[in-house]
Point group: C2
Chain length 373, copies 2
């Protein structure tokens, strides 16, 4: 790996296995094509492990978990299923594959399922805490089965994740379990901080705090997924750490872009009304950048944010949207997202110097940061 590759985070043209640059095939040039293929392959190998784990739950908890994963309707009858995009398990498998080839990838399937179980346990609990009534276009588990059942099923999913790793004879399983437990604690701290920041006055939230919260809430599990893949490939500590940072930074880039879309996204594509985040006074990253900008537009936004939104007041949302933009919130978020992605790619190049080996992880990171735009 040349020094300049690390500095710029750019990979040279793809090389064939004999080291000679080769042209890309047309299908590979379709944006997101590689990632979509990886995600489909991931669902193909991880879903059976995931379903077997969920099927092992006691009957009532199983029913709620099957519903949450989209594998059954509320009445228990089978459903076509929409268990999410499987980005985290795909990162586990892509990291294992990048560093240890097909054998490591095959060995890491349980770890990939464990990461997906942890992700879904946090979704179930977050929905309870945030009182969100819709997830993946369906009523949330607590909205259907009640708060106690959703809390208990989330608890059981965390335990299922642990059990998957605890019964895995792979030599990396113990370290993976410790790493995943560490990540759960970080996820909880991130969610805790998110709730606390939302309750503070607009002028009392620092940009560093929101960035740290977003890293814990969104970046930590993406980083952990990559780290687990690296552990299953038997990678050195510094390679594991570099892939962890790759996932974290890509996760933060995703969050920044997601927050931009939450304000300026096309309602026909986001499925949410324009400015929905502003209407609920969400302290998203571009908003806090604007609030802390020291500009007149930032002060105007702070004044708007101290009053609750009147439902249907489109003019007020329009004023807030313009204020975030004039205060530099949009530009900052987009530049920050680009910086984070550059850092992610640098770390990836450090951990996986061969561009061919790194291709899957790169494709997933690009997919993640583009998926809702």
């Amino acid at each position: 790996m040349s020094e300049s590759t690390v500095e710029t985070g750019e990979y040279p043209a793809p090389l064939s296995s004999d080291g000679v640059p080769r042209p890309r095939r047309a299908a590979e040039d379709t944006p997101g094509h590689d990632a979509v293929v990886l995600l489909e392959r991931t669902r193909g190998v991880v879903d059976p492990e995931l379903r077997a784990a969920v099927q092992s739950l006691p009957v009532q908890l199983r029913r709620i978990a099957l519903y949450h994963f989209g594998w059954s309707h509320a009445d228990g009858t089978p459903a076509a299923g929409n268990a999410g995009k499987a980005i985290r398990p795909a990162l586990v498998l892509a990291a294992a594959s990048a560093l240890g080839g097909a054998n490591a990838r095959a060995a890491a399937v349980r770890a990939a399922a464990a990461v997906e179980l942890v992700h879904n346990f946090t979704l179930m609990h977050d929905d309870v805490m945030d009182r969100d009534t819709t997830r993946r276009h369906r009523p949330t588990a607590w909205a259907v089965f009640g708060v106690p059942d959703a809390i208990l099923t989330g608890d059981a999913l965390q335990a299922l994740a642990v059990r998957l790793l605890a019964v895995d004879p792979h030599p990396a399983a113990g370290r993976a379990a410790a790493r995943l437990a560490e990540c759960v604690i970080e996820l909880c701290a991130g969610q805790q901080t998110d709730t606390a920041l939302e309750q503070r006055a607009p002028g009392e939230v620092a940009l560093d705090e929101v960035l740290a919260m977003a890293e814990a809430k969104t970046g930590a599990l993406l980083g952990c997924a990559c780290a687990l893949g690296a552990l299953y490939a038997g990678a050195e500590d510094e390679v594991v750490a570099a892939l962890d940072t790759f996932g974290r930074e890509a996760g933060l880039a995703f969050q920044l872009i997601d927050d931009v879309i939450g304000i300026w996204g096309d309602p026909r594509r986001t499925g949410k009304p324009a400015g929905a985040d502003l209407a609920v006074r969400k302290k998203s990253l571009p908003v806090v950048a604007a609030l802390t900008s020291g500009t007149p537009a930032g002060a105007e936004l702070a004044a708007l944010y101290t009053r609750p939104h009147t439902a249907g007041d489109g003019a007020e949302i329009a004023r807030a949207t313009v204020a975030v933009e004039q205060a530099g919130g949009r530009d900052w978020a987009q530049a920050e997202a680009a910086d984070r992605m550059a850092r992610a790619v640098q770390e990836l190049a450090r951990a996986v110097p061969a561009p061919e080996a790194a291709g899957g992880l790169l494709a997933l990171a690009e997919f993640v940061t583009r998926r809702s735009s």
Copy 2:
């Protein structure tokens, strides 16, 4: 071990290390003395491990956990602490000691702390679900910090338990983690069933269902604690299973006696008004035994239970109390508790034939089943 020992579950007179029967010293004859000593010793070695784990949490989660364990006040200032009786960690250490001596006992301290973390994670979540506002004579964590923070801190305590075992180099740690994860799932299922049974009509609850629920909710973790101690002593599978059953049966005996006390206990000793369980229409074990007795008193109780209790109606509580007794609920519960304890002692004798080695576990089981009477 003679066959008759297994059958009757009775230990012969204590033997000295050279096999000669020795007289008991006076202090050992004080009921509960051995158990109290064991519990104090347990707190002495497990608390530092437990505190170190809690101290490693991110600051906000740590504050809530320290409060829950009684180690700090709500404002964060240090408190004298009342983290509970440490029965579960004492069972871990006593089981390890019974089967592997002092070395196994010392090796099992992390596992003992992990069991206590799991116990406390379930307490925090149960308090949220049951809306209980008091625990160990203080406001519950959710009542002080809010529901989201209590859910998140509970989640983090489960992860802390996993991390303790995942970083433990002991060869039994992996199996212990799997066993503990399995137990968490059973605890969740037990709590789920408890909530579901409480919502059913009095005539629609079977005694077997309530017994199974009580075994999952109360017996499972006591059994798991004993099993973990056995694993850390390197015991054979059947010995681990026998100690698991010992803990489960003792736990069920405890629950039966606790339920009797919930109806006939002395308010000055229980700290709750007489008949408190009847006032909230709790479907405790003696109540369900009465409801399913097919007696006129059982029918009278069912009729009372279909109507909500009028606060302060002491005559109605008195009628319900007499009805449970006349329907045989009290006698059944006491006989069932005795049967369960006999079974527990049988299993203990099977797992640990030497009475001297089994003494600690026996003392703890007796303490548990007598502690609230």
